[in-house]
Amino acid sequence: MQEYNHSFNYRLQTNKWGEMEMLQIKDLSLHVEEGGSSVEILRNINLSFEEKKFYAITGPNGGGKSSLAKVIMGIVKPTQGSIYFNGEDITSLGITDRAKRKMGYAFQQPPRFKGFKIKDLLNLSFGEETSEQAICDVLLEVGLCAQDYLNRDVDASLSGGELKRIEIATVIARDLTLAIFDEPEAGIDLWSFQKLVETFKKMHKDKETIMIIISHQEKILRLADEVIIIADGTVKEQAKRDDIMPRIVQDLECGCNKTCDIGGSADAEPIG
């Protein structure tokens, strides 16, 4: 026991501020074979995520955000590098084992299930037979009225935004150390989005879950302690929110993210 604890602590590193690094990604790369040649999706990623913190990942489409999330969840195997979670090398663990270690991932494009009722899927998420009340509560968290949805099938009859909210609910229902949400705002109306923002805050506060939200929404970026920018398959920047936000907002306002001619002159006339 003594020895186990020893080796356990040995891996669990603290950063320069003395905070526990729960998830560490080291020298991680991902290549996929396509038409006989190898395509690089992720390149030399090094990141660490500390307990109880809130992270936002942003960056251009095709930058590699979802690929990184899938590698963390074990859905995709990296070509190189290693992943440590809670002091354990989980690089070779499958999806199920990572889920059992309290990691969760809300898909960017969730699958539909013929013959599954929403309550069946949420029952699986809770992991055991749970009360209907608990299922209703979690539906409410994503802005869905339980009465209307409990017995509906998770099939093509749901709109994109409804399906997306069910997907988010399957992750909120779980008791997690780490939760990744992949563009949760996609297809969701303004009212429901507002509700989701509150829900993410609450989940983070009540369950002390490490939140990693892949998003393009300023409202979500503003919730984060740290913002990570991923582009061209690699980490462009990881910084405290307050350091990075002014630059992101400026980039967005002038409509480009490389060099910016208008920069500085905040009152420049928008074109068109």
């Binding site: 199920t96 889920a99 969760g104 898909f107 299930f113 013929k114 013959g115 599954f116 699986l124 399957t170």
Partner: protein, 306 residues
Amino acid sequence: MLSQLDKKLLEKVADLHEIPQGAYNIRKNGSGIGRNTTNNINIVNKTDQSGIDIIVKPGTVNESVHIPVILSTEGFQDMVYNTFDIGEGSDVLVVAGCGIHSGGDENSQHDGVHDFIVRKGAKMRYVEKHYGEGDGTGKRILNPKTIITVEQDGVAEIELVQIKGVDQTIRDTEVYLHNNARLIVTERLLTYADQEAESKITVELLGEESTAQIISRSVAQDQSKQIFYLNMLGKNKCRGHIQCDSIIMDQAVVRAVPEISAYHTDAQLIHEAAIGKIASEQILKLMSLGLSENEAEEKILEGFLK
């Protein structure tokens, strides 16, 4: 007296734990072993052939009739012709089904014709489950033929289920719909090992404003084979919709042969058929909730066939 084995078969095919409430007729190895009639539902033997007539009086509501068949002697070949007369304005549940236990090496077979007339304004829900078990090499064979005529304003809801243990089946269903008659068919089929199943459903929409919906879902595993012939003929102003969905696994073979024919300009008919393996995204999603790959697959099939 019912043996433990008989009770198990009855539970599988008719959800019966005890002798049913209401009208029933239980047939075991070719002869009737129990019958009950009510004031509104009569059951009489046919005189010219093997089988029974079930007569539901007009206006009978909230009653049910169970007519399960069980075969538990090795190598038994059974054949019946049952006729159902569902009286005007009634609303009843009919539960049929056949359970076969064969321990030996000879084939056991039950062939049956169920011939229904659902009279004006009547509503009938018909549930037919097939189940087989036993270790012998003898094949368990079921060949049901179902003929249903639904008169004006009548409704027939049909549930056909075969999940386990039937080695060979050829199922033939014919439905005739008159003015404003409605039909809903739900078919669930699972085959595995060397099982073979053929399902043929032909619906003739004869009457104005008649509607029909067939939802067929199947799973084919191992070396099993399935063939579906789903056919709708629109002969009046009517609407018909066929959805035929199969999950194929292992070395199984599934054929879906759709046919829709219109004989009237106001006939609206749709046929959708899809065959494919379990979507890997579904398995990944359930694994990310903590299920193993096998558990995920089981849950997906279970939901699909529910």
